[in-house]
């Protein structure tokens, strides 16, 4: 019985794969009535110069936002720039292309020899990072449409305890590492798939996508900019750049009068209060050294954990998942209702080929897991190290890594000259 069904299935598969041999079963008739064959319409995609216009708009809004933050010190100016960016990059351009997603294009360009990188994707990745290296995260304040939409709903921001901020602040690193891992293994673009606001920008999306976006906006009323602070993977890169930026915005134009108004005004908890160093210098250095020594251990633990997770991580790859399914349930190969299995049988690939391919991808995930885990270990180690160090600070200063340069503190600062 089984053999008969196999033969039948092969026959059907053969019949269905006939077009692949590119033959014309019924030749085109020679018409006698002067019938004119219609043309198959081919509507053109968006013109190329409009894509370049997007790059120009990015540079222009970024320049204006930076000028407002660093030079004019105007919160209102940045806010209106961000509203414009929300309208243009968000609602008009419908959220695509964006700098956050471009991480994956760059990764794919580095790992997939067949991938061709559009110039616009490269520009959207590099330009905000370069500007941030000089002027801080003005991109987050005035250009990013995802940031803008959240900034506008932050009506009642509550203060999140420092420890929780630190813990949640590690999610973006994990998200970044996962996004790079999945893009590098050519599995999928994680960031784009779970972009919470793109559905709102398009006024059209699956229910889950709108739910996610709505949820972020709802939470965003109380926790200012939750996506930016606790998820955004591009924010990680911007944070690194911003931490060492030369002309990052200052809260006061001259001398701080320690009024604490700025710290109260910052909805992101990104202002460091003045601290005095405690304890003797010797013990402090010793403590830091201990934390430093533990970093390789963190990296090792993380790497080991990451590599051990490579099997579940690889499940999200289409090929690996199909191979696993077909190995575990060989009867699925005959199931015509199972679209992926049917397509695989029609493709004429052998099971061995599929398994070899899946094994190769899995081994990529194994090494990727080591790197991902090691990176996360390093992040944990450095976060602890940073927590353990108390540097003397005399004034209220923006925490350059996490400051989004929105300019609220400048607005609240009573020192105007």
């Amino acid at each position: 019985m089984n053999r008969i069904s196999k033969i039948l299935f092969t026959l059907t598969a053969l019949l269905l794969s006939l077009p692949a041999w590119a033959q014309q079963r019924f030749p085109k008739p020679e018409f006698e009535t002067g019938y004119l064959q219609p043309i198959t319409l081919q509507a053109a995609p968006r013109a190329l110069f409009l894509e370049y216009l997007d790059v120009f708009m990015l540079i222009a809004t970024l320049a204006i936002a930076t000028w407002f933050v660093v030079k004019k010190r105007s919160r209102r100016g940045v806010m209106w720039t961000s509203v414009f960016a929300l309208l243009y990059f968000g609602f008009f351009r419908e959220g695509c292309i964006c700098a956050i997603g471009s991480i994956q294009n760059i990764t794919l360009a580095l790992f997939d020899p067949a991938y061709v990188l559009p110039f616009t994707a490269l520009a959207f990745f590099v330009i905000p990072l370069v500007v941030t290296l000089f002027y801080g995260r003005t991109f987050c304040a005035g250009v990013c449409p995802l940031g803008a939409i959240q900034d506008l709903v932050a009506f009642r921001p509550i203060e999140i305890p420092k420890w929780l901020q630190k813990v949640l602040g590690m999610i973006p690193y994990l998200y970044l590492a996962l996004a790079v891992l999945y893009a590098a293994t050519k599995s999928e673009f994680l960031i784009c798939r779970y972009d919470p606001f793109v559905g709102l920008f398009r006024f059209d999306a699956e229910f889950q996508m709108l739910l996610l976006g709505g949820l972020f906006l709802l939470v965003g009323i109380f926790v200012a900019r939750p996506y930016c602070r606790f998820f955004c993977p591009y924010g990680v890169l911007l944070g690194w750049m911003s931490a060492f930026s030369t002309k990052h915005m200052k809260i006061t134009p001259s001398n701080c009068i320690q009024c604490k108004l700025c710290a109260n005004s910052c909805p992101f908890g990104a202002i460091d209060e003045p601290v005095e160093e405690q304890g003797s210098r010797r013990s402090n250095v010793q403590r830091l050294m201990t934390y430093l020594i533990f970093i390789p251990l963190w990296i090792g633990i993380g790497g080991l954990a990451g590599s051990m997770l490579h099997v579940p991580l690889a499940k999200f790859n289409k090929t690996v998942y199909l191979a696993e399914q077909l190995v575990a349930h060989p009867e699925l190969k005959q199931d015509t209702e199972h679209i992926d299995a049917r397509a695989f049988m029609q493709s004429g690939k052998s099971m061995d080929q599929l398994v070899t391919e899946a094994k190769e991808i899995r081994s990529q995930f194994y090494w990727g897991g080591w790197i991902l885990g090691g990176f996360m270990g390093l992040v944990v180690g450095l976060t602890l190290l940073k927590l353990a160090s108390h540097r003397t600070r005399n004034d209220y200063e923006p925490d350059k890594t996490n400051c989004l340069s929105c300019g609220r503190c400048m607005d609240y600062c009573p020192v105007k000259k």
């Binding site: 019949l15 269905l16 006939l18 077009p19 692949a20 590119a22 033959q23 014309q24 079963r25 030749p27 085109k28 008739p29 018409f31 006698e32 064959q37 219609p38 198959t40 081919q42 509507a43 053109a44 995609p45 968006r46 190329l48 894509e51 695509c96 471009s102 994956q104 294009n105 760059i106 360009a109 580095l110 991938y115 061709v116 990188l117 559009p118 490269l122 990745f125 590099v126 290296l133 999928e188 784009c192 798939r193 059209d204 999306a205 690194w240 931490a243 160093e277 210098r281 830091l288 430093l292 679209i339 992926d340 049917r342 397509a343 695989f344 493709s347 190290l385 160090s389 540097r391 003397t392």
Partner: protein
């Protein structure tokens, strides 16, 4: 990132800041440089290869725009103008007519027009088509395969990663240069193997 130098003279901290800044700048330049080796001035859009397509019907369900930006197109060069059209009529159709119960298309998006005996022209009304590929399966299984799916670029929003490509069982979706964005099947009897340039 090390904070060991906290009590040293400020210029030492400045030196570290400067060093880190240069390192970051250099690594950014490195990554961008490597990526720039693969850069193209052209833009890229998504298109599906009709020869790989297995007409599973997911194009109708997984597109981010509703209805799907994937539509059936008719490559007239390839059409046999059959009276008994596998793409238009249900396999168990009572008669070769335009009666609704005989039509394979769930939205009646294919218009059947008499040309001359015994030939009929089939035209797609793209307003009604939602890319379910039922006609594609019929035409490819029993006819020349002139009805096939294509991404319509006036409708497609060109997501960074096409959400249909992610689930396509045949890996038929690929990024193609925006200057040549369609893969319409050509006329096999003329010897053109795949798409025409247009």
């Amino acid at each position: 990132m090390s904070d060991k130098q906290e009590h040293q003279k400020p210029n030492r901290r400045e030196f570290i800041q400067k060093g880190m800044r240069l390192t970051l700048g250099a690594s950014l330049a490195g990554v961008a440089g490597f990526a720039a080796l693969k850069v193209s001035a052209d833009d890229y859009v998504w298109q599906l290869d009709p020869f790989k397509c297995v007409y599973c019907g997911r194009c109708a369900d997984y597109c981010v725009v509703t209805p799907s930006a994937v539509k059936c197109v008719h490559a007239y060069d390839l059409c046999g103008y059959c009276d008994l059209c596998g793409g238009y009529l249900k396999p168990d159709a009572n008669a070769r007519s335009t009666a609704a119960e005989n039509q394979l298309c769930p939205t009646a998006a294919i218009k059947r027009k008499f040309v001359e005996d015994p030939y009929f022209e089939y035209e797609i009304d793209e307003e009604l088509c939602f890319g379910c590929a039922k006609c594609v399966e019929g035409c490819t299984s029993f006819g020349n395969g002139s009805l096939h799916l294509q991404v319509r670029h006036d409708l497609c929003v060109n997501c960074n990663e096409c959400s249909i490509a992610r689930v396509c069982p045949a890996d038929a979706f690929e990024r193609v240069p925006a200057s040549n964005p369609y893969k319409i099947k050509g006329d096999f009897s003329q010897g053109t193997a795949s798409s025409n340039p247009a």
